[in-house]
């Protein structure tokens, strides 16, 4: 037990937590935006893969890092548009479309990667985002190293949380997004185009997911591996439920998960002799299921989640 506390007191543990949490924040917020508008986006796993591949590839081909982030966001929003055309405009099953998008987007990422790098046996590397030490703050004990010696993308992730909260809860646009997820007929009756609001939300949300994927290859690691998103997208979907569709709680949930993952890496080193590593790797998935069980019955779903809106269709 004392080992555990020792780990919790090291700055390295907290720095790792903040690093691991960044893609989860982007992914969870992206999913949250989609679902607040009434669209479940199970394309998230594939869209994160697209982001991871395309952002990395941009840089590998000679582009600069922020250009890569933007490119990943653009690619994500294109797949978001595809998802929106199917689920919002054609009103098709959000479940099946999302799975289809994931299958398509992941396969296409791998295909493109292999096309551009047919002969690479060991994955080539890029120079990723470097840690920026924030003056003064980074010299604080513990917090300094944990929070204020991260890469720019991590700062961006942390900053995104209040921004998304503000837009959703304090601007007319956010109200329209939330209303689209609660009662699309009411939105349409007020002269706002529900289909446009939902499409926009899904595209923006998907861009977030792709940036989350790009973080993995551009700020955490420096290469693209097959299967590297590894279920993080699904964990984000669970986190949204855990967070009751609230950005602040999403951050807390994501931190819990990231902390758990950082902890398991360290615990593996100390306890790996007794407990096989697979059980540590299982923890995030099992915890996601548990988190959903805890929250599913209590929480208030957006009432129009999964409900397509068709204008002018006779009932």
């Amino acid at each position: 037990m004392s080992d555990l506390f020792d780990i919790l007191l090291t700055a390295g543990f907290w720095a790792a937590t903040i690093r691991i949490v960044s893609p989860l924040i982007f992914g969870t917020l992206g999913e949250l935006i989609c679902e607040r508008a009434g669209v479940l986006n199970l394309g998230i796993e594939g869209i994160m893969t697209v982001g991871a591949m395309s952002g990395w590839m941009w840089v590998y081909q000679g582009g600069d890092l922020w250009g890569g982030v933007l490119f990943a966001a653009l690619m994500g929003s294109i797949f978001g548009l595809l998802h929106a055309i199917f689920t919002v405009h054609l009103g098709l099953s959000q479940h099946v479309t999302g799975i289809g998008i994931t299958l398509f987007a992941s396969a296409l990422s791998y295909f493109v990667y292999r096309m551009l790098l047919p002969d690479a046996t060991t994955p080539p590397k890029i120079v990723p985002f470097q840690a920026i030490e924030v003056p003064w703050l980074s010299e604080l004990p513990l917090i300094g190293e944990a929070v204020f010696s991260q890469t720019a993308m991590t700062y961006l992730a942390l900053l995104t949380v209040p921004v998304v909260w503000y837009v959703l809860f304090r601007t007319p646009l956010g109200l329209a997004v939330r209303m689209s997820g609660e009662n699309p007929v009411a939105v349409e009756a007020q002269g706002i185009n529900v289909l446009a609001v939902r499409t926009g939300a899904v595209m923006v949300g998907s861009a977030f997911m792709a940036v989350g994927g790009a973080f993995i290859t551009m700020s955490w690691f420096d290469a693209f591996y097959f299967g590297m998103v590894n279920g993080r997208g699904w964990i984000c979907v669970a986190l949204v439920i855990f967070a009751s569709w609230n950005p602040g709680r999403a951050l807390i949930g994501a931190l819990l998960f990231a902390g758990l993952e950082a902890l398991q890496v360290r615990a593996q080193q100390s306890a790996g002799a007794f407990i096989p590593y697979q059980f540590f790797l299982m923890l995030p998935y099992v915890m996601s299921i548990l988190a959903m069980i805890v929250m599913a019955k209590r929480t208030k779903y957006p009432q129009a989640l999964l409900v397509p809106f068709r204008r002018g269709e006779r009932v």
Binding site: T97, Y110, F111, N230, Q278, I289, I293, K297, G312, E313
Partner: protein, 350 residues
């Protein structure tokens, strides 16, 4: 743009929908082939030849269609009840674990008993795994898509643990794999040459049985009613939760049998690369079959041919094999679209 329901949908229009979807997917992949610098007719020619060009190729294609028929059936049954079981991959491995546990020497019976026993155990294991998400759905309203997906990762880690640890075959020269299925449990091959095995017969029989069940039985009626309108089904006295749970058991069981068939029929022992995503491809199989259990057979053979053929094609003209996965992903989306347009029409307004 207005989307309107057609007053009537002709059998032709509905039946042709999957073919349009396949066509659309092939057109899209043609762009990728073109990008890779290969000639499109040549590439598709190689694909067809690789899948059906020789008795060996046909044998391979049919062999690979076995798990796809079974996971496709699993999905088609579950989706009929609007139970979105995306965990076919995990259930497949659960079935493989059961086959390995019971089939590597724990129990020895004559072949005629041993094989049905392993199939049954695999089905039970697959069903038992799906019991968790289905009970969470019926009792806690937890979305089954996410739980089944997450369980896939958990099961794979369990498999990884077992074949690297307690179940590791000491004879495997360090490779992480489990002991071989005993001879009595191995599914016989169907032809002298090639790997085609008895799993195909099992898969075909199950397709017909599931089709009969869905079309003619009271239980099949109940599954359809629950999927189409759960409230009305409940009002009429159908026990909705029980129906969903039983449907899930059947679905998980079918995917579990796929695991038995791959372990005891094809590979002979359990490894981590037993399934290259058969569980996920099963979704595409079922969607292309429009959830019809009989149509699952040609649908699975088609997608199997895509995989087998694209292996041959990529060797010959240097196109990444992932083209097959792209085609599978696109076909799921395309069939959603084409089925919809067989039922609706779009009217453009100025």
């Amino acid at each position: 743009m207005i989307i309107e329901r057609r007053e009537s949908v002709s059998v032709w229009r509905a039946g042709l929908a999957p073919f349009w979807a396949v066509l659309a997917s092939m057109v899209l992949c043609a762009f990728l082939i073109n990008w890779a610098g290969a000639s499109i007719p040549q590439a598709y020619g190689l694909l067809v030849k690789g899948a059906f060009g020789s008795s060996f190729a046909i044998n391979e294609t049919l062999t690979r269609s076995i798990p796809l028929i079974l996971t496709g059936l699993a999905v088609s049954v579950a989706f009929r009840a609007k139970f979105y079981n995306i965990g076919g991959e995990g259930q497949l491995y659960a079935g493989a674990l059961a086959a390995t546990y019971f089939g590597t020497g724990l129990i020895t019976m004559p072949s005629g008993l041993m094989i049905p026993f392993l199939v049954l155990m695999g089905a039970l294991a697959g069903g038992a795994l799906l019991l968790v998400p289905v009970l969470l759905k019926t009792h806690f309203k937890v979305d089954e898509v996410v739980t089944t997906l997450l369980l896939n990762f958990v099961v794979l880690l369990v498999v990884s643990y077992l074949i690297e640890g307690p179940w590791k075959d000491p004879m495997s020269l360090g490779w992480p794999q489990a002991a071989s299925i005993i001879d009595e449990g191995v599914l016989p091959t169907l032809m002298a040459k090639g790997r085609l095995h008895f799993g195909l017969i099992i898969a075909l029989i199950l397709s017909v049985l599931i089709w009969l069940m869905m079309k003619y039985s009271v239980f099949g009626y109940e599954i359809r009613a629950v999927g189409l309108n759960a409230n009305a089904a409940e009002f009429a006295g159908i026990k909705v939760n029980r129906t969903v749970i039983m449907t899930a058991m059947i679905s998980g069981g079918l995917a579990g049998i796929a695991g038995v068939s791959e372990t005891a029929g094809l590979k002979g022992y359990l490894t981590l690369d037993l399934s290259p995503g058969f569980g996920y491809t099963g979704i595409a199989v079922a969607m292309l079959a429009q959830l019809n259990p009989l149509a699952v057979i040609p649908s699975a053979i088609f997608l199997s041919a895509v995989y087998v053929g694209s292996d041959a094609m990529s060797r010959a003209v240097n196109i990444p094999t992932y083209i097959a996965d792209v085609l599978v992903g696109v076909s799921v989306l395309a069939v959603l679209c084409s089925v919809m347009f067989s039922q609706y029409r779009v009217r453009w307004l100025r």
